[in-house]
Symmetry: C2
Subunit: 410 residues, 2 copies
């Protein structure tokens, strides 16, 4: 195993097993099993909204059920959709209840949820266009406050603002958010959105998220931190429709952001299993095709690249999460970006990632005999654990911070 | 004339001419003549250092004299060299006296001086390489304090820090400043350098200067302002060895910086009169050629582009200066970037810029008759003026702020 993965993702633990009377359970057989990762292995999970709201029927619902099971088998985190244009197409009629159903389903299935995004110029509400900038700001902040409050406890992690680097100079079409950002400036805009989010959910984890990996983005992060904005996590997109970055570029990108010593999430990771998008395309949205088939060679390539990308990121001390985008083929751009084909079968990339996430990087159930002090020692991956002994169970967390000694009462 | 030039560079003035006894000089003939521009028409003037220090001899000195005269005929501002590697090749032995001679010559000839640059990773002192980052910081700040103090009154405008966008990720070769910037971060580094400069010359005009015109630079400016750094002027390089930007791109660049409402200087403007540098060159310094001749077609093109570039910038309300880079052929990269050929003759671009700066955009000597209140009214370009009457002279400044009424005692 990669020594950096060993160093950054595992820890040595001493577990003391105590009986109900607080005396050690000495010389006894116990089984320890990991039940979750601390690291966030996530996916865009927009499909959960129709799935949990009875939108699908018959065979479609069955297929969605199968996709949901595949999701749960591999992932422990889900990104849910808050694109304003779709979330509230008519002002005052947000689809809060539907997304709450999806979020509740995630919680019930032990998935960490993230909302994406609260503020973005693309897919923002059309009805902002008739407003003054002061009114747009008011509406945007009201939208954030409403949604963050409505989802508190269901979603406690947010992509607060998406793609702020291009936001004020975005020139594809007029929209309220670009207008506002042009007037306010990026940093003031980010500050206002973070403040609004923080006000309604002070303990939520707040991300700045961008596809820009040029110095512009790391300078923006620096400027935000100088301005006192509390960024919890730096979000980096990596839509690789035009080809895998490779390890060197990935490490170089991480190097530029490492000096802030902030956690990094790879928030939108795409590797496709069909032909690559031509390199001359600048805005990925400009590539519109009727058919973009997955191919056997493409699926092999995708699997190899996915392993390499996940290994690189899982080994890096600052990365705390990777989100795959999308779970199934035929989502954004109709790209063969899924880990699951349109026919519902898993691709090799799914199997290979699963082999790591629930195999090589996972502490499988292991039997120990406690010593005379009721202790066992082991080295495990960071995350949640269950200890079983004579049919009784206790649970504990393995973290870098306090994993050397854990007491469990059985 | 371009209506924006009329609006932004001229003003209507009422001049009251008073006699020694403070009564109006009524119904009398006076002549008004502009003697200087408020707008900075500058040039890189490194040649003035050897010229004013007796480095040249015989014919070489004569040629330098002719170049200096051409400089004075066209320009009112000069950028003097402070590249650390050359200014202080051996630690503790700076060439202060030589550059002071050049600066004094500029002052004597009514040129506004600027020092370039106080902090830059390229051409920084080699002897920093053996130091720790703490020592490099100390040496860099000491260098700034010494030079800013030594030149106070001679140079009151500084490119404090050059190319901070690329500074921490510059990877061509190891150097002390990149190391330091990587550790401190760009904004903290800029703050330290601005603070040191400001401490020794609080009224100096301080520039941030960069060749980067991507969002990275305008985000950096935003971050610096958020961090409380007092940037007086935004410096934008425009080395167009690979071709003239054109009006549209120039205005687009200005548009990105306009929201700060800060003055802008085009600090390093290059338009060449030979073949263009190939577009695939990323770092201009990588283009090394033995010969790069000026050509008749190239000189025509250069002249046309220079007029257009100067007109665009002179018309823009936030631009307050343009510096040509270099004055003569054979400077940086051995490029035919000069307004003067190697043989000392002016190129068409020189003549065309001169026709604007001292012609179309210049208030030539004009005769007026004062009215019964001793007043004359005229519309003139912003800058310095001389009023002559019966062999006596008075001077005044024409500014946007208080140009409506000026009193002159003759």
């Amino acid at each position: 195993m990669n020594s950096e993965i060993r160093k950054n993702r595992m820890t040595d633990a001493t577990v003391t097993v105590l009986k109900a009377d607080n005396t050690p359970l000495a010389n006894h057989e116990v089984v320890i099993a990991q039940t979750n990762h601390k690291f966030l292995f996530g996916t865009a999970a927009f499909d959960l909204v129709p799935f949990t709201n009875g939108t699908y029927e018959g065979e479609k619902q069955e297929q969605a059920q199968q996709r949901a099971e595949k999701l749960l088998a591999l992932f422990n985190a889900a990104t849910l959709p808050f694109y304003w244009a779709r979330f509230e197409p008519q002002r005052g009629k947000p689809m809060t209840a539907q997304v709450q159903n999806a979020a509740q389903w995630c919680i019930d299935h032990r998935l960490i949820t993230k909302g994406h995004p609260l503020c973005w110029h693309t897919l923002t509400a059309d009805w902002l266009l008739s407003m003054s900038n002061a009114e747009i700001l008011q509406a945007q902040i009201a939208r954030i406050k409403r949604d963050v409050l409505d989802f508190r406890g269901l979603i406690d992690m947010w992509d607060v603002i998406n793609e702020a680097v291009i936001m004020p100079i975005f020139d594809k079409y007029d929209n309220g958010i670009t207008r506002l950002c042009k007037e306010m400036g990026r940093i003031n805009m980010i500050k206002a959105m973070f403040d609004a989010t923080h006000a309604e959910n002070p303990s939520a984890i707040l991300l700045l998220n961008d596809f820009d990996i040029s110095p512009a983005y790391d300078i923006l992060v620096e400027g935000c931190l100088e301005a006192g904005i509390k960024i919890d996590v730096i979000g980096i997109q990596s839509h690789m429709h035009q080809g895998y970055w490779g390890v060197e570029k990935t490490l170089e990108v991480l190097d530029h952001f490492s000096r802030f010593n902030l956690p990094v999430h790879f928030t939108e990771t795409t590797l496709i299993s069909g032909h690559l998008m031509p390199p001359e395309i600048v805005d990925l949205n400009d590539y519109q095709v009727q058919e973009w088939p997955t191919t056997p060679e493409g699926e092999e390539r995708q699997a190899q690249e996915a392993i390499q990308h996940y290994q690189t990121l899982f080994a890096h001390p600052l990365v705390e999460g990777i989100t795959w985008w999308d779970m199934s083929d035929g989502g954004w751009l109709n790209a063969p970006a899924g880990l699951i084909r349109k026919d519902g079968f898993s691709k090799p990339a799914y199997d290979e990632i699963l082999k790591r996430v629930k195999g090589e990087w996972w502490t499988s159930p292991t039997q120990f005999i406690t010593d005379s002090n009721g202790q066992i020692q082991f080295t495990g991956f960071l995350g949640e654990y269950e200890l079983t002994c004579d049919g009784k169970q206790g649970s504990f967390s393995l973290t870098k911070e306090d994993a050397t000694t854990i007491e469990i009462h059985i």
